[in-house]
Symmetry: C3
Subunit: 437 residues, 3 copies
């Protein structure tokens, strides 16, 4: 593939500026501040939970900021584990989430118009941030193998499809998914895996020298891991019913994640060569408890129930990284860079199933079927939407990287010359050669 094909020089600015201008126009037409005086200012219908009492429009703000940190620091740094792809990871994450939240406000808002307008409040911007999480999960599946042009297209399509499925789950099925195990985690993972399958690159079958970490890139990734881990109770409780229900969502998530850490470490040690821990497991599988407890976080599953869910999620996720991911890549052609199937896919389904069981045990007639419909719908929209999106992303003029430039920032970013201070200690000759590169 000749070099000019991969430059984003014209394509990316045109697409980005075009999308932003259209978005601003749509906001001018449809978006207003929520001033608390809306015609019939009812609790938000989405997710079947009322939002903050109308008298304090800022009461959810600390929750929002926790979620905001998960989206921009959590997801962004989690993906910096690759040795030469940190700029694209944290930088791409910032771009996709910043555009995505605007797009999510619109696509979700069109389902919930008040007097023909989208009334923006804290509840709505939490959901806008949530909508970007689907894209960031899918981003993980195709990390290193796509251009920002392709990824912007994915953002537009995925958030649009997400908003349809969310509407169906929350308002038609009236299913419970407070922490979004199904509508965000499973959806985002299987959407991304479908895209990855369509974009399959046989040339990477035997690996790529840059598809790995270095010591400090693994530490940068841990910044993402730990911020995600800490604020996950906010993610799962942000839109829960205020009061004791919200408290329950916090406690369930807190305990599920704690139990998950212990089982993920134990299994990582058990399955690895010489009993050594693997950073990939620690960075990812420790979070599976937050995903898996999402759907039933606000249900009365008992503290020990939450811990059981996290405990099992940590085991499944670690085993998935160790044994399932290589099979998916080799047999099914699904090259899942970050292993989102193990962190978001399987634990998301586990969360959906746990929700069905919890609702069934709660003896709410007919509700379990609606939970099952929600899970099926999320997976269906993800797979079909992902395949279609994948084929659009595969069109040959979106500046995609050639195989040999995958996992390498320098194709799309100005990258500083390599740490000259090391080379300086070498011979001057070497240094000169280097500078000329």
């Amino acid at each position: 593939m000749p070099a000019y094909a991969t430059t984003m020089r014209i394509k990316f600015p045109v697409l980005a500026l075009g999308l932003e201008v259209v978005t601003i126009i749509l906001f001018a037409l449809f978006a207003e501040y929520d001033d608390g005086k809306g015609h019939g200012h009812h609790p938000e219908p989405g997710n079947s939970t009322p939002h903050a009492a109308p008298e304090d429009p800022m009461s959810l703000y600390p929750m929002f900021q926790d979620v905001h940190v998960m989206i921009f620091i959590g997801f962004g740094f989690l993906m910096t584990f690759l040795k030469r792809y940190g700029f694209s990871s944290v930088g791409g994450n910032l771009l996709l989430a910043a555009f995505g939240l605007q797009w999510g406000l619109l696509t979700q808002g069109f389902w919930h118009l008040t007097d023909g307008k989208i009334k923006i409040n804290i509840f709505k911007i939490i959901n806008a941030d949530f909508s970007t999480a689907t894209v960031l999960i899918s981003f993980g599946a195709v990390l290193g193998k796509t251009s920002l042009v392709q990824l912007l297209i994915m953002t537009v399509l995925e958030i649009g499809i997400f908003a349809i499925n969310e509407h169906l789950v929350a308002n038609v099925f009236e299913a419970n998914d407070v922490g979004a195990s199904m509508i965000i985690h499973a959806f985002g993972a299987y959407f991304g895996l479908a895209v990855a399958r369509v974009l399959y690159r046989p040339g990477l079958k035997n690996g790529h020298e840059n598809d790995g970490s270095v010591y400090h890139s693994d530490l940068f990734a841990m910044i993402g891991t730990v911020f995600l881990w800490m604020f996950w109770p906010s993610f799962n409780s942000a839109i829960a019913e205020p009061g004791y229900t919200q408290l329950m969502a916090v406690i369930n998530t807190y305990l599920s994640l704690a139990a998950c850490v212990v089982s993920a470490y134990a299994i990582s040690c058990l399955v690895e060569h010489k009993g050594k821990l693997d950073m990939v497991h620690i960075q990812n599988a420790t979070l599976a408890g937050g995903v898996a407890v999402g759907t039933c976080a606000d249900m009365n599953i008992g503290p020990f129930g939450a811990m059981l869910i996290g405990f099992v999620a940590g085991i499944i996720s670690t085993l998935g990284f160790k044994y399932l991911s290589p099979i998916l890549a080799a047999k099914l052609g699904i090259q899942d860079t970050c292993g989102v199937h193990n962190l978001h896919g399987m634990p998301g389904i586990l969360g959906g199933l746990a929700g069905i069981v919890a609702v069934a045990l709660g003896k709410k007639d007919g509700k379990a079927a609606m939970q099952a419909a929600a899970l099926a719908s999320s997976l269906g929209f993800a797979l079909v939407g992902g395949v279609i999106t994948g084929f659009i992303m595969k069109l040959p003029f979106w500046a995609q990287p050639p195989d040999q430039n995958c996992f390498d920032d320098s194709i799309y970013w100005e990258v500083p010359e390599e740490e000259e201070e090391h080379e300086e200690s070498l011979t001057a000759e070497h240094y000169k050669n280097k500078a000329e590169v």
Copy 2:
């Protein structure tokens, strides 16, 4: 310049301990906790906005912590992009902000005494943190070319001048500047640029080998960028009127920043060689939307109005980095290390102008003139104050670094021997030589 001239051994401890002792004495004389029983416990006059209802003195605390993170992590890590100046950046930031917030409490407090005392509450410590932001912005302009002795002097003078200008803007002009585009961002930037002009170093005209980044230093800087970006809605709304006005300030900042990211990325790609993104733009210009929407964040400019401001700010800021900064350095002798003119200077003026327009359109008679006076006053105090401060900092006994030691931690910090694990893989001879250095 002989080596002994640059040691801080005596000068720095004497100055720092002396300043701290004086500060503690002033606190003993003038500072008290705000116990809610103050004589005439009115809303704070500063910024013409009431603070939290007296019945909960902690209601602003989460906002305070967000601002606190911006000051210490945000500004601190944003400046770690230089390859060999990370200790000075995050460490200098911590020192200047920690002393500055004490000094700011005093200098701002003297304008608002209650019963002859400064009554400390959350509103006051938010404003103390704010006052340090001016110094941290100016620090960016002279980064790498000043000693901590010089910087402590700058802190004392700049925060004092800031407090005068703030009093004028808020209490005399009664201008609106809720997010401080004028009194912090434009002020801090032009103050720092004036200092940088006075401290002009012809020896650095052709650049310096350490005035650049390495791969991982750019990732450290992104920690600063992303934390600033995420919490900026808190910065612009922390002292807004509680309730829907504060909500509006949050939403305007959230949307302005989101639009700004998209335009900054697009323009960076457009102007760079081969359409590659430039980390300098991504680290900085993505934040310009937060600066530019500051003054009118709590005004009813509409969601799309906020987005327009952010969109334009992202463009102006990126173009400034690319085309204006080199001209300022070459023609005007302003060596602006971090490009604060592009992140805080121009967007700050844009914010002030947007505030004038918004007020004028709001048909508040006479108010627009007061906004203009506030902008002029902020620029005037900054430039005059910066020049005077610059000449004081230029006195030849403040342990300033020689040109060749600029941008290098090792002149003021114990720096670990260079990553021995790399050298170990080289010849033993080389390693020995290294160890003897």
Copy 3:
């Protein structure tokens, strides 16, 4: 010591999974959500302070999240300063804290049963996070010289002993220790030092090549330092009486830390070679003000009183790192990797003494003696508990590392091959040799 002795392959998974299963069973038997309807739902007796008003069970949640960040990011990254021990530091911190918070909920909860159950609420999970801080402080003393098997054993024992001492201090002595200078900081430090003494390694008397930092590991550590520094006001005020008392705790901690930074920098410069600052001091001694003001944070010591405490703490802590730590290692055989004696030990005692003085000056009869008893009890339990725990940890089958593998992640972690991109620029021959290692 043969290699098989150090593998954790079987020991660690068995211990970790066993502990977690037991913990889940205990939760099933004893733990419930606090639904606000508990029999006699009184304020928490612990720490003699009432918790949030029952009508909003989430009011302490933002405080909880600040403390959560200190535990997982703060402590975790503070210990990443070692050049080759970052995985173990931040990863070990995550494991110990995640298990410890579950264990702490149980061991603290058994002293405060309601209707035979531990009723989990935000107040309780704050205290659970607090309990893990003791272990993380002790972890700092033995960092680099212990296996995760040993550390899990330490976690179980230390948190159990902590819960006994806390009960004694809070409920029997009814002493004040709102910021836990005594029951967490002094306790954790002297417990860890006692363990370190028992585990004394003569083979490390002359240092170890990996017992030091590299440039970027020092920057990672600063992430920990700054997050601890920023959120310390939340740590010291989280369980204070709501309202003006809590405000006072925030302001005292804010000011103590600010003054501490200035004195720590000044003394570091004064005592170091050529007046250079030492990163070890900056990373640690700047935090001593938060420790030292802990006990009397919620007392009316005046803003300047808080600053004086911080100022003195910064001096003592820095001098401790410079002069005392080498003596403890050489004369007493206490190899304190992170210098927890200087950050938590001495400042913790200073905090306890300041509390005695503040209570005595407050003329509360008999209270000063109770404060002194609390300090003595904390030190006694720490030293005796630490020695016993140390001997248990010394049993020769806990997969402890041999001297030559201390401070090295690669004994327990899969570590990526060393930054190939540097070597690639060297000769191909060298690269090949490297790859074969």
